[in-house]
Symmetry: C2
Subunit: 138 residues, 2 copies
Amino acid sequence: MESLLIGEVAARAGVLVETVRFYERKRLIPLVPRGRSKYRRYPAGVVQRIRFIRRSKQLGFTLEEIRDLLALRDRTGGCATVRDRAERKIVELDERIAALNRMRAALGELAVTCADEPNDARCPILHALDDGEDGCVR
Amino acid sequence: MESLLIGEVAARAGVLVETVRFYERKRLIPLVPRGRSKYRRYPAGVVQRIRFIRRSKQLGFTLEEIRDLLALRDRTGGCATVRDRAERKIVELDERIAALNRMRAALGELAVTCADEPNDARCPILHALDDGEDGCVR
DNA sequence: CTTGACTCCGTACCATGGTACAGGGTTCAG
DNA sequence: CTGAACCCTGTACCATGGTACGGAGTCAAG
């Protein structure tokens, strides 16, 4: 079976060579045997693995979480575990969405107030940022 | 008018002393005159300024954007400009929310499929991450 | 044999928003 | 006068996800 040099892997997966080495350092892709030279010799499957990483990132997983997902992918048989990870991530996404929605709503209200009653001497938005209530002391 | 030492400012604003110095380095709060010693002497208004920063952060502004907002706050009379910044930020928040919603929806679908037809040998989620369509070559 | 393209390693750097020292100086109470 | 508690500067470090670069080795074609 023919093996690929890192540049070929990177090109096929759509990432930079440095990124492939970065993923290796982060243990997302395995350390592969080197030939007589010190060149990495990748099996073709690594390209798929990197694409898996890309898609997982698009779904909001961090590299650390993806390492976990890849481990499940490697040891076939953990469908329920994978689903669990997906569901946890969904909860997290929902929380992030809710947080952004709260910001959005707060800022939307300020913008409306400001649009209704603009006041250069005492802009409603700046005023709210100055005096807003918040649990400041942590 | 009495002035405050940095520790007092930090305590009143609810941040660490290092954070106050950090904000000074980032030019979010002014360089203040020092006394006979080299201690910073802050006017009381700086506490309010730091709270302004905190609240702006809560609304999703970056420190760079907050620097901008503070400049508008300093030169009274830019209510329309402030509103413009707020509206741009709202658009950005909407985009981020939409992106997260897309991730959420995609992952939600995968989780449902996986819950309907779990398969340890070929988990629908892992399978989708392996073969998903995406514009890979950039 | 040389040249160009590729690879290697190690390290530094980017943004973001801080946090944590180390090794000093200052200030105030007792 | 001494010690605690504060302040100073400068630098390094944290996570996140890479990107860039220098200097050296390798490989294939011409």
